[in-house]
Symmetry: C2
Subunit: 134 residues, 2 copies
């Protein structure tokens, strides 16, 4: 049976407060699964986020400690965004969303190979995400 003290159960709303809008998780997906890391690359995503919204969400996610921002040491004009540990720890959330979507829309674009791997050994996949540099 469910918990009695309903008032104090708010882990879901804690998470939604951090990334529960229309765009934040898409940015995190870009970083985690599509290897993107610059403002311009996020803009290229098929969902077509507006520039002001993107800037706002990047700022908020940085404030939340989910991603961090720094200049490319090899190209001072390039700004790079990267997931922090806290952001990388969102991998299971993204993965379960991808699995659910694939179950109910097989044509949603998740590669079969990726799905198989996520099912067989998700921890291995997460480990790879973490180890990825540049």
């Amino acid at each position: 049976m469910p918990a009695k003290n309903r008032r104090s159960f708010c882990p879901v709303s804690f998470a939604l407060d951090k990334f529960g809008d229309k765009w934040s998780l898409l940015i995190i997906r870009d970083l985690m699964f599509l290897g993107k890391e610059t403002y311009g690359e996020f803009l290229e995503s098929s969902e077509e986020i507006a520039t002001n919204i993107l800037a706002d969400r990047l700022k908020r996610l940085e404030t939340e400690g989910i991603l961090l921002k720094f200049r490319d040491p090899e190209n001072g004009r390039r700004v790079i965004y990267r997931l922090t540990e806290k952001g990388l720890d969102l991998a299971p959330v993204l993965i379960s969303m991808i699995q659910w979507s694939s179950q109910y829309d097989p044509d949603c674009g998740a590669p079969k190979q990726l799905l198989q791997r996520l099912q067989d050994d998700p921890d291995d996949f997460i480990a790879e995400i973490r180890s990825r540099e540049s």
Copy 2:
């Protein structure tokens, strides 16, 4: 390395389109973890959703096939909402959000016992959610 065909990778946005707003996942949480099943019970949640927003989200989630609505056979005036299979299959998403929140805010209200159980044997917990009647 990330996939090349970025255009066609949209499982995350598929999911967000279904429940990626401020309220839908909170309703699903109420159904899945707090044993709520009526309009009035959803209104009592600490996030204080407005009546018009609640009605709209319930309708949308029903349209998406995530929950269904029917009259209480034992009380014709009572309307009951319940998760469908498709809705129950969102359990891993909710669970990973709860785990993430608990990791970064231990005071967010997830009972230690629940967390332990989710970590030890999540499938067992999901099975219980599924088997729950009334």
